[in-house]
């Protein structure tokens, strides 16, 4: 009798385990990759030992105080070097209105939908210039004013990293295709849900920007006060891309601010995860020679960015 019951229990477990499909991502993730992209799994050894920190700065070309934030961010960048990554987001706001005076100035549309979604999700009451430090929640807020940035970066700069991440990015000019191969390595045992997402960033785009008084900390010291025609917009977020969240018929790679799940459960020290992500039909008005990519891994429960990588985009024909 014991054998019968044991056999039944075993049969039950086998059938139960093999006859249930638990779906965690209901919507079809578009895994179609631009044809030109190849999978790379042979990454160089990642020697990074620090927790890199990302500043996601919210800005707008009519925000006269924002260049003051950009100036501060650049100073911090020179202090921390590769450990500090800057991305400037232009979500839709009163500071992104086009040609407000009808005089042909400020006609460039910097707004992308994903930036607006990120602002809406993380910052219920935006005040510029502000930014998120690795999306760490600080006193109930993700976004903090620029005066708090240095202290909050210092607070986490020596944190032991949970992950390392590196990406190899190639842009194929003739096909306007960006291919990003990414490796994520768990540096310690982790348990939870972790996701990876990429930013395409274009740096140093010269265009109109309002600049405040640098003496008061509002403006950028390199530019005059008022409307500046040749302002170099730094670290401009152009697109957010991953597999997940792409609607059929829409450009591949766009549309989601949440990226790809790499771990759901536990991972052991040294576990590595590889992803190939791509962005096809990249806007031809963007200058690929000014591109860089930002890849980061974050904790889905807290949204905190645990490791970030800024990488050069190699341009090929």
């Amino acid at each position: 009798m014991k054998r019968i019951l044991f056999g039944l229990a075993a049969l039950t477990l086998i059938v139960a385990a093999t006859s249930c499909d638990k779906v965690k991502q209901p919507n079809v993730a578009v895994a179609d990759i631009c044809e030109v992209c190849d999978t790379i799994t042979d990454f160089p050894t990642n020697t990074n030992t620090k927790r890199n920190i990302i500043l996601e700065e919210f800005t707008g070309h009519l925000c006269a105080n924002c260049p003051g934030g950009t100036y501060l961010a650049q100073q911090m960048d020179s202090t921390y070097g590769e450990q500090f990554v800057i991305v400037a987001m232009h979500p839709e706001s009163s500071f992104t209105v086009l040609d407000p005076d009808g005089d042909g100035k400020y006609t460039t549309n910097w707004v992308i939908e994903e930036a607006s979604e990120i602002l809406t999700f993380f910052v219920p009451s935006p005040a510029y210039p502000s930014g998120m430090i690795s999306r760490k929640e600080i006193a109930g807020n993700y976004s903090i004013s620029k005066n708090q940035w240095p202290a909050e970066v210092m607070a986490i700069e020596n944190d032991a990293p949970l992950f390392n991440i590196q990406s190899i990015a190639k842009f194929y000019e003739s096909q306007r295709a960006l291919c990003v191969n990414t490796e994520v390595e768990a540096l310690t045992a982790v348990n939870g849900t972790y996701k990876v997402i990429h930013y395409l960033v274009e740096d140093s785009i010269v265009d109109w920007q309002k600049n405040g008084n640098p003496v008061l900390g509002q403006g950028h010291w390199h530019y005059p006060i008022g409307s500046v025609a040749d302002y170099a917009h730094r670290h401009v977020l152009r697109d957010v891309f991953g597999h997940v969240g792409v609607n059929e018929g829409e450009p591949l790679g766009s549309g989601s601010i949440w990226g790809d799940e790499i771990i759901n459960g536990s991972a052991a020290t040294g576990d590595k995860f590889h992803l190939l992500t791509s962005l096809c039909d990249v806007n031809d008005s963007w200058d690929e020679h000014h591109f860089y990519i930002v890849s980061f891994v974050y904790d889905d429960a807290t949204k905190e960015i645990l490791q970030v990588y800024e990488g050069h985009v190699e341009v090929e024909n």
Binding site: S19, C20, K22, P26, N27, E248
Partner: protein, 573 residues
């Protein structure tokens, strides 16, 4: 094709049996028996614009079912020959033609029972698996595959099923694509353990697992191809008290029923009762959360249901109570309760007086009080699953067994049955119903517009039966319903005369006398004449039948209005 396959299988089985019998049990086949039954329902349709009755192109319809079952010792085989020429209006319109709708072969030997072909079965209360036929509704989700039942030890009962489900009829059985497989184990502890054999406490426990498979053919969603469900149950009785319960769980099962959300499903059913001489009390409760379970996620109505979710309401037979506002179980979610108390007043003694003497009388009086209510769940919507492509599409979250504020249905009724003399008896019944038509969708105006919101109805029923003479009985029903939210007041009268044991004739008039529109104060008159002889029953009916929702056990179908003759025969041998 199906017939050929069946004949081949039967021939093979017969050959095996003949070989076996001639070598081991001579004459076995000669002891075989054939039984069967036939049901034929033919309907003729007249156009009746007043009630919206339409005439199909063929002007008549016929449903016919013939069951033939051969048994010989442990072996049995049978089939059901069905005809839909054409299907009666209100039946699934795609049923057509004539052919085999059900066939099986089976043998039972040494506590092992094997069935190949079609079969019906149920695990526990059916919360995760019930294969059954409800012919009046056109429901038939017969399994087509293999069923094995085995009793390996006293008190231990095991069952396994594996197959596809009947979906359609097109000159023969048409199965759905989805595969259903499951097994069930039940242990009767009193049988299993010798020392509990005579115990006053009787305990049965059981558990089941069911999984369905359907390929993912959706371009937009990652649909689960294997959807599993499991359930556990226990029945306990101690003397006059019994307690039963079953809990079921189903993993993500996006479907047309639930708007393709990926939420898990839950169900719980609890039954308690206390019964003693002249008194019975039962209390039932039910919780359903996203428990629609079909072998094809894209079908609706009564098609390809894998499970059965019983309605916790009293099934009524009286015309107004049964046909106007019947309750349909809400598989997407409901919390329901039912209580019923039955008491029989003993025959009055000489010491009784007044009401006590009346209720007791010469034959006693039975009174039954029943109250049932179904509510929505206490749930919170989790955003719009269609606008956020990163959404896990869970739809909502609900607090287990916590009822929401929306009342779907309630029915409070009192029934009093009294026999006055050897010749005369009566039943009086009062019902108070609340019916949310936004949920149940059974109430329409005569022009076909759905009624919105709650409908409240009070119904009084008086059923009188008088024995005129030996073999001659007359029965009258007088029913009245008052409502303000739908078609206003109704009255139904029925006179039925029976000349035992062969003849009966009945005239029923369902009259919407309170309708606001004078032209729609319609008499739905229907006359029936029947003849019964031995196992054969013939009936002819003529008249109008109103459109509505027809329900059995909480499962419903919409029936259209009709006007015309209906002829039916049932026979068995």
């Amino acid at each position: 094709m199906a017939l050929k396959k069946f004949v081949l299988v039967c021939s093979a089985m017969a050959c095996m049996l003949i070989h076996h019998s001639t070598t081991a049990q001579d004459g076995m086949l000669s002891s075989g028996e054939v039984h069967g039954n036939v049901q034929v329902i033919a309907q003729q349709y007249n156009e009746d614009t007043l009630i919206g009755a339409q005439v199909p192109p063929a002007e008549t319809a016929m449903n016919a079912f013939t069951n033939i079952i051969y048994t010989n010792g442990p072996f049995s085989a049978g089939f059901r020959y069905e005809s839909y020429l054409n299907a009666q209006l209100g039946y699934p319109g795609r049923f057509k033609g004539t052919g085999l709708g059900y066939r099986f072969v089976s043998y039972a030997i040494d506590d092992l029972e094997v069935t190949a072909g079609n079969f019906y079965d149920q695990f526990g209360n059916g919360l995760i698996f019930r294969s059954y036929e409800e012919r009046q509704l056109g429901v038939d989700n017969a399994m087509d595959g293999v069923r094995i039942a085995y009793k390996p030890y006293k008190g231990l009962y095991l069952k396994g099923v594996y197959g596809v489900q009947r979906f359609d009829f097109d000159n023969g059985l048409v199965n759905g694509d989805g595969i259903v497989r499951g097994f069930d184990g039940e242990m009767n502890l009193n049988e299993f353990f010798d020392r509990l054999d005579t115990a006053k406490t009787r305990i049965t426990i059981g558990g089941s697992f069911v999984s369905k498979f359907q390929p993912d053919d959706n371009a937009d969603l990652n649909l689960p191809e294997n959807v599993g469900s499991y359930a556990g149950r226990m029945n306990l009785s101690y003397g006059k008290v019994s307690l039963g319960g079953e809990m079921a769980y189903k993993i993500n099962d996006p479907s047309a029923d639930n708007g393709y959300i990926f939420k898990d499903g839950k169900a719980m059913l609890v039954n308690t009762s206390f019964t003693t001489r002249g008194f019975a009390l039962s209390l039932d409760a039910k919780y359903i959360e996203n428990m629609s379970y079909r072998s094809d996620r894209d079908v609706i109505l009564t098609d390809l249901m894998v499970n059965f979710l019983p309605a916790l309401t009293k099934p009524h037979t009286y015309n107004l109570a049964a046909t106007l506002y019947p309750y349909a179980t809400q598989p997407n979610g409901e919390v329901a309760y039912q209580a019923e108390l039955a008491y029989k007043f003993k025959k009055a003694s000489k010491a009784n007086s007044g009401l006590g003497k009346f209720l007791g009388g010469k034959y006693g009086t039975s009174i039954t009080i029943n109250a049932a209510a179904a509510f929505g769940m206490d749930s919170t919507t989790l955003g719009d699953v269609n606008s956020d492509i990163t959404s896990p599409r869970l739809g909502y979250k609900a607090n287990f067994f916590s009822r929401g504020e929306q009342l779907f249905f309630s029915d409070i009724n009192v029934e009093l049955k009294k026999k006055i003399s050897k010749k005369f008896r009566f039943t009086y019944m009062f019902l108070n119903m609340a019916y949310d038509n936004d949920i149940n969708q059974g109430a329409y105006t005569n022009s076909g517009a759905a009624v919105h919101g709650k409908i409240y109805a009070d119904i009084h029923i008086l059923d009188l039966s008088y024995k005129l003479a030996k073999k001659h009985n007359i029965r009258m029903e007088m029913q009245h319903m008052e409502t303000k939210q739908h078609l206003q007041n109704w009255a139904t009268g029925l006179i039925e005369y029976t000349y035992s044991p062969h003849w009966f004739v009945a005239v029923l008039d369902q009259y919407n006398y309170g309708n606001d529109i004078p032209e729609e104060r319609i008499h739905y008159v229907y006359t029936t004449v029947g003849y019964i002889k031995n196992a054969h029953r013939f009936t002819v009916g003529y008249g109008k039948q109103r459109a509505g929702l027809f329900c059995v056990g909480g499962v419903c179908r919409t029936v259209p209005a009709s006007n015309g003759f209906t002829f039916s025969i049932t026979s068995s041998f």
